[in-house]
Subunit: 433 residues, 2 copies
């Protein structure tokens, strides 16, 4: 329906931001709050929207066996390995409009520009909109990208959401066949690399007055579900008879915070629930999450050992029981020299009209996890960071400027073209199987 | 349907315990867990059951304008002031079978015995099964008994449950007229006193090997809803930019516990909720309850001032905001000399076959709140405590022995008769209005 005359309009920063606004209307929360979780009706709705935009950009589209929305534009000859561009469309609760989403829409807009330019590339272009990066619904992150990377774990079928719905059943409700999950898995031969645009969870770029940054590596998070069990009882119970799970959890949270700060790590307890959760009943059980991340995996793993000892000590002193379960673990993921190079070339190319003009592009460590970590199991990865106001993300206040998004579009397009021009962009022909 | 020949069977401890079991089947939780909240279908169901048992015991029954189930047996002449006997039928989440319930069923069984004995009393007997003591549904306790006491507050109509249903609308759904709430209010002239049987939330009785105890006074609780507000954000956010509401709440909970212990008070944080409550999002808001109680109101009130200062200091240091709202406040309630005396007479009379034989009855302070506190605004109060295993209440493990319940029935009956025999039991005739 959209003619080629609308290309500039639909690949501009304003158009990308308008699409972010449109996606934000697909939410399961009231009052303008955004939450869009894996395998939900909202997931299906935004996949359909993204598929339409991909087709407008000239991509052939399909939804893969894990519910990721995919598209492909052939290169100079059909069947070439692809440069994969993408990010995710799912959100945390009370999310912003850009985390993940901006990366998907930037990828689509850049493919649209490249196709319209008529340039013949030595690789195909694929776009992927992952269905789960945040792990909001099932507590385990990167489900979408790990399906694509072929690192899906069978144990995940038994994960259940808050309503008790198993991932296995959610697949079927969404119209997917759990037995076919393997079809979502791609191989290293399919790709020449992966590039992702994402808002920075900073605010380093803002502090340094830079619209764009190059990711050097992504810190790996480990996540745990910690359950402290005491004994529920009447709020009039004397101290000596109390086994208060929430008092123990609170002491643990304070201690974990102190330990992580001292070790130059980041620890987040974002989820906590108490049972039975009544004003006049001592908490018999407290369940909380721990997300632990740092620059170096070894520091993080040592800190976790110390945290385990500390939990045992607190619970022993208080007559409580503690159980821990690791729900997620990712090693730090490093962006390849080549992909950092093409992103840097893109940032330089886009820099003319920005505060970056004349400055060497800035490299940053990402403390936040990204789909790129999972895709890194298959192919080399690179990431472009876009400044966001105050570095705020996972919050309705997430905000980017149109000028920064315009710079990101130019940089991401230039990065794709830089890769096309680089030696060895076209891999050697594969032997027939 | 039940003839007088069944009297011994239905007023025995075994029968009372069987009725406790029957009431426990009326719950809104699965898997045998008990929760029965104010103005729910389960509330209606247990009122109907209690009304039937009251009628079998010879009482004339009605449900009052607040949903309390009431019954009356006239004394020597019709229209005499009544001795009110009762407790509550609502529960906390994951409750036991006896807290409140045992008191209602003991009252009904004792009226049945007195009526069957043919004794003519100088007062009427009334039984009340209060619809809300725990405050589970609307966060404010003693709604049933405060309606009867005439201390209902209009502001309560706006209280909402977790589903957002206002108390006002819950009244209408239950078939009650909010405008008629004043009809539930009784006056001092209606009563000669109030007696309540309740399990001890101890375990002092167990430690002292006593089946029964006499309550001297009931500690008054103050309850607060405390809201700490920070800023939600990505779990990768550096420490310097974090405004973590749950970290602040945890520090506060640990500090409140220490302060209350040192002041010989009891503090319970039984409810805590974080928002948005996701593994990978810093908590932007934490809401928790505080239930603060002690032997002396003045100590408790001083401690609350110290807690307020402590909350302000923690939140100031962490860049958080704190809001507090008092949701409940009750002064300590004292049992009258006369009512303590008749309960003591009852315990002595029942003591022959128990470990109490030959020992002076034991007086106890109740750290738990009771309907008697509200009824104390109208008339003098007395309470009989029954030993429960480990002092555990507000938990599925609540447990009483048949022997102790038998002793409680004997003692409660003897207390009623002791009051009938006491000088001045029959108040002077009232002047006609």
């Amino acid at each position: 329906m959209t003619g080629h005359g609308d290309l500039a309009a639909r690949t501009s920063a304003a158009a990308v931001l308008a699409r972010c606004d449109e996606l934000a209307t697909h939410t399961d929360l009231p009052d303008g709050l955004i939450q869009r979780v894996y395998l939900s009706p909202e997931h299906a709705a935004v996949n359909a929207l993204a598929a339409g935009w991909m087709r407008e950009a000239g991509l052939t589209t399909w939804q893969d066996a894990a519910g990721n929305q995919c598209g492909r534009l052939e290169g100079a000859t059909p069947g070439l390995p692809a440069l994969l561009l993408g990010s995710h469309l799912d959100t945390v609760p009370s999310a912003g409009r850009y985390d993940g989403i901006l990366g998907v829409l930037t990828a689509i807009a850049v493919v649209d520009r490249v196709r319209a330019s008529g340039r013949s590339l030595p690789f195909a272009l694929e776009v992927v909109a992952f269905g789960d990066e945040e792990g909001t619904r099932f507590g385990t992150a990167l489900l979408g990208s790990r399906a694509l990377a072929g690192t899906w774990l069978d144990a995940w079928w038994e994960l259940a959401d808050e309503q008790g719905i198993r991932l296995h059943d959610a697949f079927e409700t969404f119209g997917l066949d759990p037995a076919a999950i393997g079809r979502a898995a791609r191989t290293s031969n399919d790709f020449v690399g992966y590039l992702e645009t994402h808002i920075e969870q900073g605010p380093v770029l803002e502090e340094q007055d830079r619209p764009l940054g190059i990711v050097s590596s992504i810190a790996g998070a480990r996540r745990f579900q910690i359950t402290i069990t005491g004994k529920a009882g009447h709020s009039g119970t004397p101290w000596v008879h109390r086994r208060d799970a929430l008092a123990g959890a609170s002491e643990a949270i304070v201690a974990i915070e102190r330990l992580a700060r001292d070790a130059d790590l980041i620890a987040t307890i974002g989820h906590l629930e108490v049972f039975p959760d009544a004003v006049n009943v001592i908490a018999g059980r407290a369940e909380f999450s721990l997300d632990l991340r740092g620059r170096f995996d070894a520091d993080r793993d040592l800190a976790w050992q110390q945290i385990e000892a500390l939990l045992a000590e607190i619970c022993d002193t208080r007559g409580l029981h503690v159980g821990v379960e690791q729900t997620h673990s990712a090693p730090a993921a490093h962006c390849s020299d080549r992909m950092r190079g093409v992103i840097a070339a893109g940032v330089r190319a886009a820099g003319a009209g920005t505060a970056d003009a004349g400055r060497e592009p800035l490299e940053l460590l990402s403390m936040a996890g990204h789909d790129a970590m999972a895709v890194g199991h298959l192919t080399e990865i690179g990431m472009l960071f876009v400044r966001c106001a105050g570095g705020v993300s996972h919050h309705p206040d997430e905000s980017v400027t149109e000028a920064d998004v315009a710079a990101a579009l130019d940089a991401f397009e230039a990065a794709v073209l830089a890769l096309a021009d680089s030696p060895g962009a076209m891999p050697a022909p594969q032997d027939p199987a």
